[in-house]
Amino acid sequence: MSDAEFALRPVTVPQTVGASRPLLDRLHDWIVTVDHKRLGLMYVGYGVLFLVVAGLEATVMRIQLAIPNNHFVSPQVFNQLFTMHGTTMVFLVGMPILFGFANYLAPLMIGARDMAFPRLNAFSFWMSAFGGLILYFSVIAASGLYGAGNAPDIGWFAYAPLTSSTFSVGHSTDYWIIGLLVSGIGSIGTAANIVTTILCMRCPGMTLGRLPMFVWLNLVVSALILLVISPLTAAQIMLLVDRYLGGHFFDTQAGGSAVIWMHFFWIFGHPEVYVLIIPGFAIASEVIPVFSRKPIFGYSIMVAATLAIGFLSLGVWAHHMFTVGMTSYANAFFTASTMAIGVPTGIKIFNWLGTMWGGKISFAVPMRFCVAFLFQFLIAGLTGIMLSASPFDWQLGNSYFVVAHFHYVLIGGLIFTIFAGFYYWYPKVTGRMWNDVLGRAHFWLFLIGFHLTFDFMHIPGVLGMPRRIYTYDAGRGWELWNLIVSIGVVFQVVGIACWVTNFLWSYFKGPAAGNDPWDAWTLEWSTTSPPREYAFATIPVVASRRPLWDVKHPEDPDWKYE
């Protein structure tokens, strides 16, 4: 083991770049950078920016729906808001933040100095960034260019034939198509890059069986992205052909099929949910062991369960289409495949529980977010099983019950783990520790807001309230629940404000964090905080799944048990 100990000694190279150069030069450095850490940070920053935008869109919608027959926004603006909110959250918030985490952390965790293709990395980032800008250009160019004054209002899954040139006049739908097409190219590039990096850039001793769980899960996600972005891209090109070259793929008035679009969209759209949530699992799988002081329970089963989820997720898409009149056999098949995916997901929850069991749990802020995630994901999984039964879905599909369900997955699951990840790796990335009081305030406010909003959102769904309506009449039993849901938003907004304040303030004033504030076990904690461009002075050599445990506990190293 002397090899590993040597390699993992803290790096002490004096800092010579950065500090006192003109702002323009430093900005230029960021724009032309191919460094995976800087690109990772830019991905995250870009995602957080759009998170705030999409959050504000949601806030406006909740003001509109707080009371019946409200006239806060017009129906057209409301339709644009939910279209932009959904599109933004999935494509411009979820994916970029997760790519950012993977970009920054995966190379460090496997002992690599950069991604396999640094230039492709930069190219992909800028493609995604410009994709987002194109989408939003439809709004901000209001009276500038012809047709650019309207945001898309077709819903984030853009069902045909509402997107055809007959029903969607002007260019708003084109902005939606082109924006996602461009950002999709970026996603494919980064996914290919992550797969290659993880397979080819591992340091000596880092076999596939020793990859940190975070890296394994991101490998599965990136492979999944390569498979599922393509059908979306294909469908969007077909839609463009329909709109401009007289194609009739989805043009029902000329004999095209609206259902084909649904198949194309959901064979992308459902695996996309797993593309978003598995990186959340990845963060939880790093945070929970460290704060329970135990290794992840059932490592190989966890990996197998992830692979199973990735595989099964490709065969469940039509559960979004239980109401389009498929045959009873098709409905039964997709019910079965959807329920089946509950099994590996359940295994993961049990394994996290097994990791906590018998440990010494410290409830630092990252761990709090992860425990909340476990509870919420459990509920989200169970409402998912309920919806997977197609008769249940006939009743509750496209209602607020579904809206509550997938926000439980994506906020209660994904956003909570993203927050956990932010608090966990912030000291590594900035070299400074965040403020604990503000962190706890963020946690509690957001938790209360989340439950007020999304617990009570299930109820109007059960009472028959469909999604995507800009207003509703009094007297159908929905008023009270909608009001509570909207009140919850206030807590969430204040929570987010605490978080942003905390991270900005700590960046300048926070105490120094040190290289390894959590007494953690993966390789990123062996280098400086923040890591230098080359990350490791010498490439580390590892002998087990927890290289830093081996260094810290030479009397009882992990490799003895492998």
């Binding site: 039964a332 018998g358 010494k360």
Partner: protein, 292 residues
């Protein structure tokens, strides 16, 4: 549902227990807990048990799917064709040969002699979805495709529903109501709907304006020269409770405002403001009020 609640209670309480039990004690000696890497027996248990649960759930679900989707309709089932439009419902009764809108009348069915209503679902433009939560799950209306569903209300009453698939600007105000009534009332309603429009004496001026303006391009009033099919059939307009697919109650005042400018109730409605002068507006409103 019960199974889900049970799973939630079990796993949730395990989680809560481990949160309390394994919390790091305040006077911790800093030693690491026993390092456990996993256990194949435990893994096997929590793989097999969920598989069994899922299997049972699936069988139960498959039975319901079969019962609902593959149900045979009795010969005296009522046949209705529902056509979704932006943003209203057209209901055709092919057995009786008339067309109405937004308010579907069906007979109450009883267990000894069920008379379910079999609805064929079509769309004239974009996707819609027929959903009356208290009567049945939803089924989509998709252009170029024929779907079907059935309802079988056992209690008389008015059931509210609405479009459940985003269909454009006024998706929110594409409401529908199902009136389930006794067999006799239903037969009476069928007979009245099947008859041509009443030729009222007092409203000839309104009728003339109606027949000579753009109204007839979109609306039908049987027995007149109005044969449009783009908007709701108005032959028996006054037999309905609402206008604008549930956007407003059907009163004289609302009707007049609606003809003047539908956008005041339903911005984005496909009906244009009719640009009639005040007295023309009154006359047309008076004429429409006779269509019962």
């Amino acid at each position: 549902m019960a199974i889900c609640a049970a799973i939630f209670l079990t796993v949730g309480s395990l989680l809560a227990y481990s949160m309390v039990k394994f919390r790091r004690p305040p006077e911790d000696d800093g030693r690491e807990p026993v390092q456990i890497y996993g256990s194949n027996q435990v893994e096997l248990a929590w793989t097999v048990i969920p598989i069994l649960i899922v299997f049972v759930l699936f069988l139960a679900t498959a039975r319901v799917i079969h019962a609902v989707q593959d149900a045979r309709m009795p010969p005296d089932a009522i046949e209705v064709v529902a056509v979704g439009h932006q943003f209203w419902w057209e209901f055709r009764y092919p057995q009786q040969g008339f067309v109405t809108a937004n308010e579907l009348h069906v007979p109450v069915s009883d267990a000894s002699h069920p008379t379910p209503t079999h609805i064929t679902l079509l769309s004239a433009d974009t996707d819609h979805s027929f959903w009356v939560p208290q009567l049945a799950g939803k089924t989509d209306l998709i252009p170029n495709r024929q779907n079907s569903m059935w309802i079988d209300p056992r209690e008389a009453g008015v059931y509210l529903g609405q479009c459940a698939q985003f269909c454009g600007m006024q998706h929110a105000k594409m409401l529908l109501r199902v009136v389930a009534e006794s067999r006799e009332d239903f037969e009476r309603w069928l007979a009245s709907q099947g008859s041509p429009a009443r030729q009222a004496d007092g409203a000839t001026q309104g009728r003339r304006i109606f027949e000579t303006t753009a109204c007839v391009n979109c609306h039908t009033v049987s027995g007149t020269s109005a044969h449009g099919t783009f908007g709701p059939d108005l032959t028996h307009l006054m037999s309905r409770k609402t206008i604008g697919a549930g956007a407003a109650l059907l009163t004289q005042d609302n009707l007049r405002h609606w003809i003047m400018n539908p956008d005041s109730f339903k911005p984005g409605s496909k009906m244009p403001a009719m640009q009639l002068r005040g007295n023309e507006l009154d006359a047309v409103t008076a004429y429409l009020l006779t269509l019962d």
